[in-house]
């Protein structure tokens, strides 16, 4: 026999998961590097890196969402907590945007104020939904296994 049969045990499975997580991070960093290189070194327009940005966003948020769902232990904020986080997050984004771009003209509000105000709200809603789904799945699994 030229090839020896390899036994896959729990340590190797754990190492595989560890390696996958590390390499996912490396891939995301490289992808971000490609986006920055194209935008700022090659001077390509934003529209030409939209596909890379979409892949990077799906990769990062998909990973976080899966962690939340599978873990089922991430903190789920109360309504007051979520509002406080929203106000803090939006204030920081508004402050940075005003410093960098200045006050927008009224005809630009749909493309300036709207994403700045709706973006953090969508992000928080998504987080709460996914975290609650994760908790619900784990609780259901515990109930089913305790029966």
């Amino acid at each position: 026999m030229f090839i020896q049969k390899t036994k896959i045990d729990e340590r190797m499975r754990s190492n595989t998961r560890h390696a996958a997580a590390i390499w996912l991070g490396v891939t995301q960093i490289l992808l971000a590097g490609v986006i920055f290189y194209r935008l700022y070194a090659l001077g390509q327009p934003d529209a030409e890196v939209r596909d890379f940005q979409a892949v990077l966003a799906i990769s990062i948020f998909g990973y976080l969402a899966l962690q939340l769902i599978l873990g089922g232990v991430m903190p789920v904020p109360t309504w007051r907590g979520a509002v406080a986080v929203y106000v803090a997050l939006t204030s920081v984004i508004v402050a940075v945007c005003l410093i960098v771009y200045g006050w927008p003209k009224p005809e630009e509000w749909a493309s300036t104020w709207l994403p700045v105000l709706a973006g953090p709200a969508l992000f928080l809603c998504g987080y709460v939904l996914v975290a609650r789904l994760g908790q619900w799945l784990v609780e259901r699994q515990i109930e089913r296994m305790s029966e």
Binding site: K7, D9, E10, R11, M12, P77, R80, G81, A84
Partner: protein, 80 residues
Amino acid sequence: MNGIYYIQIMATQIPLNRLKLARVAAGLTQAELADRVGVTRQTIGLIEAGGYNPTLKLCLRLAQVTHKTLDELFWSQGEE
């Protein structure tokens, strides 16, 4: 605490063990023990050296094969 959440990273302390003594007492080599519990020889070597934290399932299997109890095989630091 209301409204304040903490993310606590749990310490992964590897339990101490007497696996090597138990294995030798049972007259088994690392490879034989590995075969009987369904893991690789390297995994047994790492557990004996304290370099790998085995799952409870594997601990139970090791205790069964070496005819020891879990308490006799594994314990945590500060507990003798």
